[in-house]
């Protein structure tokens, strides 16, 4: 099968995630969309690994997963902390860093 289809699918998933990150305001959903973006990338890496017949791309994909896991731990931790402090679940309202 042509590698092009895999890449198209990967780009599609990535764009869905990106759109979600840019449009949604709930931190939880943004986190989910981030996962989508990462996994879109993973798909492309895996496809390239298949194409070249080496394991490099797969190793990269595994590393991305580990990074994603770490990121989710921190992100979920932050969200739990926000719930605990009864902060609004809206990233647009949390703009204290405005210069």
């Amino acid at each position: 099968m042509d590698i092009g289809w895999y890449l198209v699918l990967s780009a599609f998933i990535f764009c869905i995630g990106l759109t979600g990150v840019l449009t949604r305001r709930s931190p939880l959903v943004i986190l989910i969309c981030l996962e989508l973006m990462l996994n879109g990338g993973n798909l492309a890496l895996a496809a390239f690994a298949r194409m070249t017949g080496t394991a490099d791309g797969q190793v990269f994909a595994l590393i991305v997963m580990i990074v994603a896991a770490c990121e989710v731990v921190i992100g979920l931790g932050l969200i739990v902390a926000m719930f605990r402090n009864r902060l609004p679940m809206d990233v647009d309202e949390m703009s204290e860093l405005r210069g």
Binding site: V21, R25, M94
Partner: protein, 668 residues
């Protein structure tokens, strides 16, 4: 031990004394600090005597010994060692400095007794003597300048010793600033000497100077004039004399120390030390002599009208130093230094007696308030009388021989120097007048209330006030205040006075012109290369000068007797008839006003212009515009910082997308 070892010990004791008192002041009860300080100077004197004995053991050609401890500064072409030069001149100065300083220390032990800064005082005092000894024993110009600057600092510290007295701190600053003028000139002179001769140690400089300079070349004249600026600043000669009368703000023994033993004699010593240079530059030597003449006439005239007792003595010092400067400038070295020695004796004595009088007056220094103290203070009166006789060159007293020795030399050289002799005689006449003006005004006449109380055995109790401003004295700073010690009732103060009185009387005997030549013979090895060393004053000239000097002194004293004791109305009448001359003299020839107008005010105006103009417009403008530029820049950058997470994500996307597009375009 060799003479140089004793030379080092002379330096070591006062320095050690100063450090011990400065560091151990907490654990020094009562008068211990004074005793330590006196002992340190006493040991320095003993070692100076030992150096003298050692030096006399050498043959006459080998009486200039150098010794160095270590390298002080060695760089390309400059080789300076921490070294001393022990020769007859240095030993002579060390003897006078340490001897008279010792007596002044002993006097101070009781005089400063009730002062709260007692230990600080003795630490400074020892440091002062150490600096002066370093100056006279220095083996090269650099060490001499180090000692020179130390003396300047020590004088500053001691003049403003009562630091809560505003006038005292001003006087200290004034002395320091004027001394720095001299320091700078001396440093420039040393640099020029190093450049031309390639040496900085005295022996090397004097050996190479005749080859490096032609006779009276402009450069050597310039160097000598720079040395003179340094000497005049320290020795309070015109036009750098204004600090000395103000230096009277310090405690009276400090005045004695500055005037008699240390500090002001440094300039005379410097000219004597660098005499080979001055012999190459006769023009500079003549300028120096002329300024000396002007100075002693000026100071003597001012001393006639000033009414502050200590300031009269200060002007008399300026005047007497003028005689010494004339002496060493016209190559009458031994005579100039002889006068330095006798002056040290009678001036120290005069200050001690004045300190006693001021104590009896409860801190008041105005001679208009004093009279008839002779019965209340008999020992002080006797001391002051001896000092005044010596200062007024009464026949037989030390000042008579030493001053006339200088004048006889001037007369013998003839030509233009004859004018120096004439001016010197006029100066001597005025000197006798003002010396006895002090004596008659203070001790003669009816007894003042203070004197009457003293005669009944107790001290007049007055509120201490600052003699300059009339402000009440802040006795908390340690000003002796009501607990003054009167010299003749304290043995440790009376003994130095008696010793100095004896020296003032017989000090002249060792060098009676034409009869004895102790000092001249002793100093001869130092001045052996001088072309005038063989100039012997003929017996006829000497006899003439001595006779004229005796009559001048007697007439001066007689005039003073008439003016201030017999008919005191005459002076008041004179002051009224010649108001211009009187105010001119009372304002000390307007020197302070001139400096205020020519230097102080322009500088202050410049400072004000800088603070209002330059500072406010240029400096503040630069700082302000930098701040404004930063503010404008950050207001532009701040727009991007919205704080919205999704906005940042979009910016990230745009950036990464832009980069990706760029590489796509470049690579295709």
């Amino acid at each position: 031990m060799s003479a140089t070892t004793y030379g080092w010990l002379v330096l070591a004791f006062p320095l050690a004394g100063s450090i011990v008192i400065a560091l151990g002041w907490r654990s020094l009860p009562g008068r211990t600090a004074g005793l330590i300080g006196s002992a340190a100077i006493g040991l320095a004197f003993v070692n100076a005597v030992a150096a003298l004995i050692q030096l006399q053991g050498e043959s006459a050609d080998h009486r200039a010994l150098t010794s160095s401890l270590w390298d002080y500064a060695v760089t390309s072409g400059v080789d300076v060692k921490l070294g001393i030069l022990v020769d007859p001149l240095a030993v002579f100065m060390a003897l006078v400095v340490s001897g008279v300083s010792f007596l002044i220390h002993v006097y101070s032990v009781a005089y400063m007794d009730s002062d709260r800064g007692y230990r600080r005082y003795f630490s400074y005092l020892n440091f002062f003597v150490f600096s002066m000894l370093l100056l006279v024993l220095a083996g090269n110009l650099v060490i001499l300048i180090v000692g020179w600057a130390f003396v300047g600092f020590a004088s500053y510290a001691l003049i403003s010793f009562w630091y809560r007295r505003r006038t005292a701190t001003y006087a200290g600053i004034k002395a320091f600033v004027i001394n720095v003028v001299g320091d700078v000139a001396l440093v420039i002179a040393a640099i020029l000497i190093q450049r031309e001769t390639g040496a900085l140690d005295f022996v090397g400089v004097f050996k190479r100077a005749p080859e490096a300079f032609t006779q009276n070349e402009w450069l050597i004249v310039a160097i000598c004039l720079l040395i003179l600026v340094g000497a005049f600043a320290k020795s309070a000669q015109l036009p750098l004399h204004t600090w000395l009368p103000d230096a009277m703000e310090g405690p009276t023994p400090v005045s004695a120390l500055i005037h008699a033993a240390t500090m002001v004699t440094a300039g005379v010593y410097l000219i004597a030390r660098t005499h080979p240079l001055f012999e190459l530059a006769p023009t500079a030597a003549d300028i120096s002599a002329a300024i000396g003449v002007l100075t002693f006439l000026f100071a003597a005239s001012v001393a006639l009208v000033v009414t502050d007792l200590k300031r009269i003595i200060a002007y008399s010092t300026i005047s007497q130093i003028g005689y010494m400067i004339v002496g060493v400038s016209i190559a009458a070295y031994s005579a100039g230094l002889f006068h330095l020695m006798t002056h040290a004796f009678f001036k120290a004595l005069m200050f001690m007696a004045a300190g006693s009088v001021i104590a009896a007056m409860g801190g008041n220094q105005d001679i208009d308030r004093m009279s008839g103290l002779r019965r209340a203070l008999p020992v002080t009166f006797a001391g002051f009388l001896v000092a005044a006789l010596a200062l007024g060159a009464f026949p037989g007293f030390s000042g008579y021989f030493s001053k006339d020795e200088i004048l006889a030399f001037a007369a013998e050289r003839g030509g233009g120097y004859l004018w120096i002799y004439i001016a010197g005689t006029v100066g001597a006449f005025v000197t006798a007048m003002y010396a006895f003006r002090m004596l008659f005004r203070v001790f003669g006449g009816p007894a003042s209330p203070e004197a009457r109380e003293l005669e009944q055995g107790h001290l007049h109790h007055g509120e201490p006030v600052n003699p300059m401003t009339g402000e009440p004295e802040d006795t908390d700073v340690g000003y002796p205040g009501p607990e003054h010690h009167i010299a003749e009732r304290e043995r440790s103060m009376a003994v130095p006075m008696v010793l100095l009185a004896v020296l003032s009387v017989i000090g002249g005997v060792i060098q009676i012109p034409g009869v004895t030549h102790v000092i001249e013979n002793f100093l001869e090895p130092t001045f052996a290369d001088s072309p005038f060393v063989d100039l012997d004053v003929s017996g006829g000239t000497e006899a003439l000068v001595l006779i004229v000097g005796a009559w001048t002194s007697l007439i001066g004293i007689g005039v003073a007797w008439v003016l201030w004791l017999e008919r005191p109305g005459i002076t008041v009448d004179l002051a009224r008839r010649l108001p211009r001359l009187h105010t001119f003299l009372q304002h000390k020839w307007y020197f302070d006003e001139l400096y205020d107008f020519a230097i102080v005010r322009p500088l202050r105006a410049l400072g004000r212009a800088c603070s209002t103009g330059f500072e406010r417009v240029v400096i503040q403008g630069m700082v302000g515009s930098t701040a404004a530029a930063v503010r404008v820049g950050n207001s532009l950058v701040r727009v991007a910082q919205t704080g919205l997470l999704r906005y940042y994500a979009l910016l990230l996307l745009v950036g990464v997308g832009g980069l990706a597009l760029y590489f796509l375009v470049v690579s295709s």
